[in-house]
Symmetry: C2
């Protein structure tokens, strides 16, 4: 079998950096149908979501539509995923709001400038990560950390929208708990009409999400049912506008509305260059670059593997970065690939990046001609859309699962969750990441070890504590189930020396290395020391089942010569037979 | 064979915390001879060293003698090592000088108060570490980091003493390179007489260290030769005093002398309690606790194993902590076990902690009656003692060794070395530790993997790239040589999916887990995802050679049920035979 190498291609051909060169020349009519239908359906989802996520980011609603035009065209041409739907997302908008909010901008204009700078920085960071092949860095955020972060973010986002549903204003607070406190103490200021509109919108959205979606899936083909079940946001937006406009609720009942949404395509302009501002948004830009990339790559990978297509993680970073350049120069804010929109795009039949381009064209038409329709759109409806969208991100099953599987993972999740709520988003992620890496290092610092013996009549060696095995009192067979490196090797040395001190009949010690993938230089020093410590107490040291690459390395630095080449056995069986005969 | 457990005893008997209860009642006359001789020889070494290390720490010389009385008695009673010689050491004195120096104390009295507070904090930290069983934390400082730190510290200490040999004063500088610069630009201020005394002292010390020691080892029994070869410091001290006093060099040639050393035993007094001062010295106290413990435990372990004795690392922390309480209450400064003194103590025949107590008595007698003799002791002689003692700590072989063995270890060493010189001692250690852990995590994030096949006619499976093996194009056998956890699992998923995308004939994928010691919850999620990604592209996922503890965990969370219990094979051989037959 000639298995092709799993290593990524080193070719730097034009097609690698401009993936559309591969699919556009071969574009067929069959592709067009799927792409057009998917493009339309995603646009219908994206218009209300875009405005809602703009408000969540603290930006004017039209910027959410701007973020859904040029970035989509750029990603459509440069992305390696055929179906990823780029645009504003809840998580990134939350990071934008938290990051810029903490800078206390003096005006909306300044706020928007920060958002543009942020988009450009995200673009630069993501493109650099792609060109330098360091996208793997996101893997250092473990699942429990991400899960704890996502659940906490869902709570922060959801609670942040409650004010729109209750209909009274809540100032910006440094701490999350202060915001919750303010919400509760001012509950009497609730605007009842707004609350009813908000709750109705939530009800309709939930109805679309669960009973209706189930019914449609049972009675309609999937490619119709899935997109139809995503029309909830459009329905509540249209209904909200009609109800508020028809009954004059904005004036009569003080229902908060979106108001004037400027029409027309966004102006193309460069983000301002101001060193202090660039410095101020940089930490948030890093967080958005990583979180946005992760959100995007995971859904892109899942859908690509379904069709045995390939995703190039480095090119994905470049494409997302380029899309963010588009956002930065067209008055928008940072974007990334959204989970649910991408699934809809895929199910509705998107075949190529053209689907994204069709979506962008429809959003552009909306901005050009339909913005007056949004005047009476109640903020409570947009808040309802956000709340329902993020509710599913709060995942307490993940905690139970992680905790049951392993205390360290459960702890990482819980610490991240608590830290994000208590210390803020970026500090929370950092704390969580540090804790998860610390716990991993701690775990490998006390590895599983076993004194082993032979299962009678076989060549298998097992733990003396778990199995009924045959041993020889002069020969200690000691197996370590971990690579040998600095945090654990002193612990192992101590264990071995204690075993030898407690069992004076031992003459030979065999370190069984079947699970040792690596020996670092600290471990090498300790092995040298252990060898001479054992020698000075009259015990000889041997090794068995040393893996090829480890053996090469040990031989190269002269350790094997020092140990004595005949003191390394290929198998535990040979070591046991030989030493038993020698002492017998 | 009834191998006694390597686990430390859980008994909290009095003998565990007061080890002298075990040996004192059984004390015999034979022990006495060895202990007295060793006690005397160590005292002869310790008097000049104690004064020299006090000056290195920035303290008056008599405090170095105080540090060699009560702490030794306490350690002698509480330590689990029979031969560890506690007292002032170069490394700890350097940390004291750097830590207190950076606080710019207004007077010598304030400087000494800081030292007392530091000793008490070290005592508290070490005792807490012992009681909480967290001594293993020091293992997170890898050999390369320690080695880089030690070499850099040796340079800083040595260069710091050069001024005493040249005979002109150098003010305290923030940065090491400024100090070097000042030394060079003021080289014309050298006091020639002082320089000659210093160089002669260095010459005599080196002569004792190398040619004389070699000669004595060849012609005298070891227990005489080793202690005799350590008399160099005593010889240069006596000679220095005689020469300077006889020729009036202090007055006539301006040779720097120790001057008046107050006689009499130290006063017992509590260190001052001042919150600001306590806070200021805390970071240094942490560094001293860890570095001091490490210095101590490594030599104690090495000597104990020679006699198949045991060291209890937690009780060692408690004993060192208690010794530092002694230091804090008797006008001294932080102490720890010294490497060369301990070796001398052991070789000279020390049998129990009584040797330490005899040393303490002799130092006490020195303080009471002999201090007037040190009036004319030239500082250049003490500096020479320090320079010769630390010169061997600079270890460039360690760098070459680490670099040759493995680039990551070499890099850790180099970064620590540079960071200690450039950014200071504590920051340097922290940077080094972070780099070494980061490099470890990076390494495990891109583990070695192999597509494997069967060596014809055997049950052995090996890498298809290295061996001529038999494979089946529908069955992919994929081996991962690392535990599966968050930094590496996405990388592995990508590799597997690319292999499957590139080789459409694959129908079965077997993940061979012979080197997988652990699967964390992030990896579990990815395995679940991988399973369904493969399923959606028509490929079935299997596992083989899953270890017992890993299997238990996977079964417990239902992963095995989900995968299908018949999809886990005990051996690669069985998986291969079965799947080959199924596709054949």
């Amino acid at each position: 079998m000639a298995v092709k190498s799993a290593k990524m291609t080193e070719s730097t051909s034009l097609k690698q950096y401009l993936p559309f060169l591969a699919w556009l020349p071969k574009y067929r009519r069959e592709d067009l149908t799927g792409d057009v239908i998917a493009g339309v359906i995603v646009a219908v989802m994206l218009v209300p979501q875009g405005m809602a996520y703009a408000l969540l980011a603290g930006m004017p609603p039209e910027t959410g539509l701007y973020a859904s035009i040029v970035p989509l065209i750029i990603y459509g041409l440069l992305g390696t995923s055929r179906v990823l739907a780029v645009g504003p997302t809840a998580m990134v908008s939350l990071l934008i709001a938290a990051g810029i909010g903490s800078l206390n901008p003096a005006s909306t204009a300044e706020y928007m400038q920060y958002a543009l700078i942020m988009a450009l920085q995200v673009a630069i960071i993501q493109m650099l990560m792609g060109l330098l092949h360091v996208g793997f860095l996101v893997n250092f955020l473990s699942h429990p950390v991400l899960s704890g972060f996502t659940s906490a973010a869902a709570i922060i986002i959801g609670v942040g929208q409650v004010k729109h549903v209750l209909g009274y204003d809540v100032p910006r607070f440094e701490h999350f708990y202060e915001q919750v406190g303010f919400l509760f103490t001012n509950i009497t200021h609730t605007n009842l009409t707004t609350l009813i509109i908000g709750l109705c919108a939530i009800g309709v959205l939930l109805a679309f999400k669960y009973p209706l979606a189930t019914w449609m899936k049972a009675h309609l083909p999937e490619f119709i049912a899935v997109p139809l079940s995503k029309l909830g946001p459009l329905v509540v937006v249209v209904a909200g506008v009609i109800v508020v406009a028809r009954f004059g609720l904005a004036q009569a009942a003080g229902v908060g509305i979106v108001g004037d949404v400027p029409g027309g395509l966004p102006q193309v302009a460069a983000p301002p260059f101001n060193f202090a501002m660039w410095q101020a948004v940089f930490p948030t830009a890093i967080a958005i670059s990583l979180v946005g990339y992760m959100e995007s790559i995971s859904v892109a990978k899942a859908l690509a593997s379904k069709k045995r297509q390939k995703i190039d993680p480095d090119q994905e970073l470049i494409a997302l970065g380029a899309a963010n350049i588009g956002a930065a120069f067209t008055g928008a804010f940072p974007v990334t690939g959204g989970l649910s929109r991408t699934v809809v795009n895929d199910t509705a039949g998107a075949r190529t990046g053209m689907a994204s381009i069709f979506t962008a064209i429809l959003v552009a038409l909306t901005v050009m001609f339909l913005t007056p329709l949004f005047f009476y759109l109640p903020s409570a409806v947009l808040a309802a859309i956000i709340i329902v969208a993020v509710a599913k991100l709060f995942d307490w099953h993940a905690f139970i699962h992680a905790w049951r599987y392993n205390r360290a993972d459960g702890l990482s999740l819980l610490v991240t969750f608590g830290a994000v709520l208590a210390a803020g988003i970026e500090a929370g992620i950092l704390i969580g990441a540090a804790v998860s890496m610390g716990l991993y290092l701690y775990r490998t610092s006390k590895p599983h070890t076993a004194v082993i013996g032979r299962i009678p009549g076989t060549e298998h060696f097992r733990n003396v504590k778990r199995h009924d095995v045959e041993t020889c009192s002069e020969v200690l067979l000691f197996r370590v189930d971990e690579s040998l490196y600095f945090p654990n090797v002193t612990y192992l040395e101590l264990q071995l020396l204690e075993l030898v001190a407690d069992n004076p009949e031992i003459e030979h010690v065999v370190l069984v290395c079947s699970a040792v993938n690596y020996i670092d230089v600290s471990a090498l020093e300790v092995l040298e020391r252990l060898m001479s410590e054992l020698r000075s107490s009259g015990v000889t040291f041997y090794m068995a089942e040393v893996k090829g690459p480890v053996m090469d390395r040990l031989r190269q630095v002269g350790f094997i010569d020092h140990l004595g080449g005949d003191r390394v056995f290929l198998s535990t069986q040979r070591a046991y037979e030989y030493l038993k005969a020698a002492t017998g």
